[in-house]
Symmetry: C2
Amino acid sequence: MPSLEKGLALGLIDHFSLDLDEVLDAADIVVIGAPPKATAQLLTEVIDRAAHCGSPIVTDMASIKGFIVDSVKRTYPRFIPGHPIAGSEHSGVEAAKADLFQGREVILTPLPDSDERALLAVEEMWVAAGARITHMSVADHDAALAASSHAPHMLAYALTAMLDDHDLLPMKHGGGALRDMTRIAASDPVMWRDIALTNREALLDAMDALAVEHSRLRELIDAGDGEGMEQYFMRCRQLRRAHDNILNPFIPSGEVPG
Amino acid sequence: MPSLEKGLALGLIDHFSLDLDEVLDAADIVVIGAPPKATAQLLTEVIDRAAHCGSPIVTDMASIKGFIVDSVKRTYPRFIPGHPIAGSEHSGVEAAKADLFQGREVILTPLPDSDERALLAVEEMWVAAGARITHMSVADHDAALAASSHAPHMLAYALTAMLDDHDLLPMKHGGGALRDMTRIAASDPVMWRDIALTNREALLDAMDALAVEHSRLRELIDAGDGEGMEQYFMRCRQLRRAHDNILNPFIPSGEVPG
């Protein structure tokens, strides 16, 4: 309980209770923020009781949605699955940041039976925190995040392991590029084990797509195709600059979102 | 000539001359700083004349050594090939930084016939700029840099291209991890084309080693081997933290060294 008391002392929360029924009865919206496996357990428990305890709106923040939605056996139209693309490598009540969601994307994946008013309330909550809302299907969310976040993490892990296995210990001779490309290999091993276990198929698809692209580039290099490489690199430079300038102007570097 | 005059006006250089023989006659050490292909051309021209023009010590800064050394046909014992692991995505005289080499590694790859006193003089020059010196063979340098810098750049390019080809345009939904992993995909296309052309074999070896490691990690994920993944990720976290804390404490993030 020390972290709840600390939150109270810091003025970050107004009340807390360890009595789940009491919490559900009092709440308008229940937001579950925990790693994927813990989120699935907590959601199951909350939704089992919610209908009899004030019927609050329920949402979550887990970075995987298929596993979460599949884990919750009971139908509850006031459950709106969500995923804010924000976070850092820090955790705990002292890492709280009022502007954590400012300008960031929150993906909501409403289910076929989701209540329209519950969806609107969850959207309003996120907009009040400064976020912008995207709707996606559960499957699209998991595939997009496998490609944009989960597979890049696996790449950083594989690169780090390769460098350590190399006879010449090339990590000793790396500069800023290497530093960037391996930063997220310091991410939490248990969290990433759970993500790889719970978003397995979409992650494997993204890793395969990446392997195909990597071997396409390898062919250009093997063939000494300078013109092909220059076009390839030019296209990537344009894509990366568009990403910086237009799509995600709000995201500072050096973060490790979940 | 405007950039040389600007250098003079800014007090960055004391003199300049466009007469190569005059420069060689006056110089103690000639340092060639240019992309790999231009470095090879300039070195050939300088070394062809150096023996008849004051015999200055000659060194270079190119990020590939085998191609450079092979390009210089004439033997000149006072040529010491070098590569400072430092730089940024900026170029030109106004991007000059007095502390650019402070705490950074400079790899020298002396040749079998290299003059010992010339080597010492080049080392003293780099130490005066704040750098630390490593000696490597030409082949080891190119293999280590292929793994620590060139292959990671190819990875960033391949990831960026994969994300753009993906139906769901996942780059729109990326956070800080994606930003880090694609930053160097904005690097200069011509420079990286030249690096891939001139360090082709070592780069292909590093890309192959990475593909093997990536597919090893893929197998753990495919098998749902949670314990294996956790060990793998834990090892990477330790390696990455050791890299941050011990080996390269000087390198700021967000740089794109050549």
